[in-house]
Symmetry: C2
Subunit: 260 residues, 2 copies
């Protein structure tokens, strides 16, 4: 019911996406919302604990069908960020096998990009993001401290494989990629324990981690879909200095944002 | 194009609203978005520099008409927060006379609440918010330091009158009220210079100011529209612990949020 005047960026993922607005965490979602204020709304579709297997049937409920789209805002950019839960070890109910993870990501991309899909949305650009690296030292300490203590549920190398799969799928499907796994690993000097500079519990990002992600989002937008960079989008409604007090209504008319 | 699955809270106002997602500022918009994650989207419709006179024709473009509403998310709560610019002194192009300010606020409320309005939205609750008090010491220093220096454009008593008018309109129209003017004035011990604890430039809120506002929003929701308090809203899609791995699709079905 906000009418069809401002399009959006949709962030779809797990708790690392859902937590992207968390107070005091320098969340990438909140910061993107600020950067795109009056240009694109930034919508949180993060689902704590979810993997791609559970994300798909939820996506099929919240993403508009081709029929519904004509009345709704356009999702100009969809960032899909999964893998942190899919890569849980096999004993976890969150585990999704690597091949199935790849299939699920491709399925999601094709839901939006295939002209045959009922969710086909030709003006939605897609970026896949890799899961961050796991700091198993931090993660183990966190799980040990719970009551009752839990066994380690993730593994450094395994998550790396899921990150590689996201890159492979992005390459194959020719969509954008945010390789936060590599950015964070590089920033930590290729030292697993130093990942604590970017993760608060070995799995979830702290403020410095979200800063890496925010910067990486804008870098990928600039590289892959430059027309969506905030510097290239006009505000939907003009700045107040443009308003003619003698002709207010004409001077505050909505601007059409060009679709490239 | 996010389909009709998650309703929203819309924050409509000036720069103090627009800035409510600003990084490192503990913005009330970002924090509300976090608090309502997976329950209601929080939409930024803040327009820096705008007054009610300019806000109305913009509102009439972005708020859905009765006809459009049937396909769109419901704005469950609309917070209207103006007055900081309307209360500029008469020489400013942003100035709106006090009586006209009251008329404009009533007009906005009736656009949404009057069954005769083409924007009539019976499931949208409204809260009006008062402008914060002005710290003219801080504001004067800020304007003096500009190149060229600017004359003081706002006045403590005058803004207080606009705040009182917001309260009067809210009472008359029987909608919710957030009296951040009084909350901030009380918090500053009724000492104008101490308002710098809550304002970074005499006009705009700092982190402590936004914290007062965030708390006041939830307090007013609890008091006036308790059914919209985040503690009383279910998540639209269930938490991952509720998912039955043997029956995923059935267990992730969207829940209907009860409209009171």
């Amino acid at each position: 019911m906000s009418a069809n005047v401002q399009n959006s960026i949709m962030l779809f993922g797990d708790s690392i996406t859902q937590g992207g607005w968390e107070p005091g965490m320098n969340g990438f979602g909140a910061n993107l919302a600020h950067r795109y204020a009056r240009k694109l709304d930034v919508i949180n579709r993060g689902f704590s604990g979810y993997n791609t297997e559970w994300g798909i049937p939820v996506f099929e409920q919240f993403f508009a069908t081709r029929e519904q789209q004509k009345d709704l805002q356009i999702v100009r950019l969809l960032i899909i960020w999964f893998g942190a839960n899919d890569s849980c070890l096999v004993q976890s109910p969150q585990h999704v096998p690597l091949a199935k993870f790849a299939t699920n990501l491709k399925y999601l991309v094709n839901l939006v990009q295939s002209p045959e899909s009922q969710y086909y949305s030709p003006n939605t650009r897609i970026i896949l993001a890799t899961p961050p690296p796991v700091n198993t030292y931090q993660r183990k300490a966190n799980l040990d401290a719970r009551d009752p203590p839990l066994l380690l549920d993730r593994d450094f190398e395994n998550t790396r494989d899921y990150a590689q799969t996201v890159k492979d799928v992005a390459h194959e499907e020719e969509v954008g990629i945010i390789d936060i796994w590599t950015k964070m690993w590089d920033a930590a000097g290729h030292d697993e324990q130093s990942l604590s500079d970017y993760l608060y519990d070995g799995l979830h990002l702290n403020g410095a981690g979200y800063q890496l992600m925010y910067d990486a989002v804008l870098e990928t937008i600039e590289k892959t879909y430059p027309e969506l960079h905030p510097d290239r989008l006009e505000m939907v409604f003009p700045g107040w200095g443009m308003i003619d007090p003698n002709n207010v209504v004409a001077s505050v008319q909505k601007r059409e944002q060009h679709l490239v």
